[in-house]
């Protein structure tokens, strides 16, 4: 069977800024990383692979050419193969267009074989929508289980534990083919190994690049054209509240604060 793990390269959050004049994201200066939750989704795929004989793990991403770095990271953790979906025509995709593109690539990969599991992160740290996983599953017509804090595969039955409401966990199961999205609690991702890194850099054999034509994409459904949501504005949130800043040495501030709290009857 195949386990397909969808991964995404994201900007390292804290450094992202908006150009105050143009209102666009300043991307150049931003280092890109593998979406943190996607490491857990790769780990889940690898753990299942190790627990049985017949598994091949394939990492897939849609993104610009530099997203190949995310795939190399997956390969050096131990994925068997990687696919980069890259085409200028994919640019500007929202989650609907992204999930369409990923799912037709997965269809091509599976070639009518139904014996597969897809793992995703519960959300990416940039958009934080958590839409792509369930939407890939919807496009493929398979069940999705979101937000796993524990997941295992027994034969072709996927068993997942996830938070339901405060103080409650739900155990839920389904049969393959299926898609699961994972949270941080699901496992502890391994570090890349030396063997893995050597294997990863054996790129020619392991990493394929597919474009819109390779996957026979409907041009109406990809990129900007296939996106139903449009970003009309981006800005840095403004401070909203009138406030006071206490200054001085920690000791001085502590005294001012304590006296203020006493005045307001908090202490």
């Amino acid at each position: 069977m195949k386990i397909i793990t969808c991964i995404k390269q994201v900007p390292a959050n804290s450094t992202i800024k908006i150009d105050q004049v143009t209102g666009h994201l300043v991307r150049e200066a931003t280092p890109a990383i593998l979406n943190p939750l996607d490491k857990h989704s790769i780990e889940l795929a690898l753990e299942i692979k190790e627990s049985r004989e017949d598994v091949e793990v394939i990492a897939i991403t849609m993104g610009p050419d530099q997203a190949r770095l995310a795939l190399l990271e997956a390969l050096s953790m131990g994925a068997d193969k990687a696919i980069l979906l890259s085409d200028i025509k994919f640019a500007g995709s929202d989650t609907l267009a992204t999930s369409y593109t990923l799912s037709i690539a997965i269809k091509k990969l599976m070639n009518d074989d139904d014996n597969y599991l897809i793992t995703c992160g519960a959300q990416a740290s940039d958009g934080e929508t958590g839409h792509v996983g369930p939407q890939v599953a919807e496009e493929l017509g398979i069940p999705s289980i979101t937000g796993a804090s524990r997941a295992s595969l027994d034969g072709d039955v996927l068993l997942v534990t996830r938070g339901k409401q405060a103080g409650k966990l739900e155990q839920i199961k389904t049969r393959l083919p299926a898609l699961v999205t994972v949270t941080k609690g699901v496992n502890k991702p391994r570090l890349p190994t030396l063997h893995g890194i050597t294997h990863a850099f054996d790129e020619g054999a392991l990493l394929s690049v597919w474009n819109a034509a390779t996957i026979d994409a409907d041009e109406e459904k990809i990129g900007m054209a296939g996106s139903k949501t449009k970003v009309s504005k981006m800005y840095t949130p403004e401070p909203k509240k009138e406030n006071i800043t206490l200054t001085g040495s920690p000791k001085e501030i502590a005294s001012k604060l304590a006296s203020m709290l006493k005045e307001k009857n908090y202490i």
Binding site: A137, K230, P237, A254
Partner: protein
């Protein structure tokens, strides 16, 4: 959107009802208040859609909070939430009745089916909105949502398809109460759901350990984030809390690191709290956290980064190293209490 339908064919604002335990989830009432505003601007009405058999029982409450109509869909074969049931029923209802806007709570349940519903309807969905309004010139829904960890806000529109779908977390909007009594129309339909395709089904629900402490009704909360640096340093917060008669809470990062119990987490995926005093120690102020505490009466923030977002919602700002400041603060309180 259906291939032969036009944008103008769609009207009305829907809120999908979720029930937790045996009552309506608070996010539903918050969404109804917002739906009511939006419907006024669009000159249309608000429909609360409830899957399950509780339409009559809940009609009064939903009506008071902003619903004009209630649509109850009862299906004898389905007792609880199920992804495929929700997706299928809502798809059919939308095709038949064509609402212009659908609002869904960003709860674990909402997050589970909303993306699939938007895909099946072939329309846009915006996640975790913190503001919703109508653009005057176009009548489009303006969906404000934080992105890049809350560092940047974006306004998103669904321009070329309908319905316009958005999810919203608990605590973002305030519930409203209708003062003028108006008549709520309740319509009920029965739906036969034959599960032909493979589904995900619940095996078991497990109750986690009982609450060891409850941060929800504390008058004073001392909350710590990753800036506290270690679980030992959380001991400082315990000491401060004891000194001023409060309880200790934490951000998700602090809970994930095991510095404090998960049930003390404040924010979108934790508790929404409203104490008289909230002391934020080493917390950056990500929107997912502030949603859960921004309505506190007085907020004191201590952070060594003068640019930290927490300062934009705090009443009293202190730029300092928490580890240095808290011990000094505890001493000062002892002095002032005795003076």
């Amino acid at each position: 959107m259906q291939p032969n339908a036009k944008l103008e064919d769609y009207s009305g604002v829907w809120v999908v009802v979720e029930r937790s335990e045996s009552e309506i989830d608070p996010v539903v009432l918050e969404l109804l208040g917002k739906a009511w505003d939006l419907a006024k601007k669009r000159n249309t009405s608000v429909t609360a859609v409830i899957l399950g058999k509780h339409a009559d029982q809940e009609s009064k409450k939903l009506g008071i909070h902003g619903a004009d109509n209630i649509l109850g869909v009862h299906c004898p074969d389905v007792q609880d939430y199920e992804q495929e049931f929700y997706t299928r029923v809502l798809t059919e209802l939308v095709h038949e009745r064509k609402p212009e806007i659908i609002l869904i709570g960003a709860t674990p349940q909402g997050r589970d089916y909303a993306p699939r519903l938007s895909k099946r309807l072939n329309t846009g969905l915006t996640a975790d909105c913190t503001g919703l309004d109508i653009e005057e010139t176009t009548g489009n829904l303006l969906q404000e949502c934080p992105t890049y960890g809350g560092n940047i806000m974006a306004i998103i529109q669904t321009v070329s398809s309908r319905p316009q779908m958005a999810t919203v977390a608990r605590g973002v909007f305030k519930p409203k109460i209708r003062t003028k009594a108006s008549k709520v129309k309740v319509e009920k339909i029965t739906y036969c759901f034959d599960a032909t395709r493979e589904r995900a089904s619940t095996v078991d629900i497990i109750e986690q350990d009982g609450e060891t402490r409850d941060v929800r009704d504390a008058e004073i909360l001392v909350a710590g984030g990753r800036g506290m640096e270690s679980s030992e340093n959380f001991g400082l917060l315990e000491e401060l809390a004891r000194e001023i008669g409060g309880k200790v809470a934490g951000t998700r990062s602090a809970c994930d690191l095991g510095w404090i119990e998960k049930n003390c987490q404040v924010g979108q995926t934790g508790h929404v709290v409203k104490p008289r005093l909230y002391i934020a120690c080493g917390i950056s102020g990500a929107i997912q956290h502030t949603i859960g505490m921004q309505d506190s009466e007085h907020i004191i923030a201590i952070n060594k980064d003068p640019e930290a977002r927490i300062f934009s919602i705090a009443d009293t700002c202190i730029v300092a190293d928490v580890l240095e400041f808290i011990p000094a603060f505890i001493n000062a309180i002892k002095r002032f209490r005795n003076s």
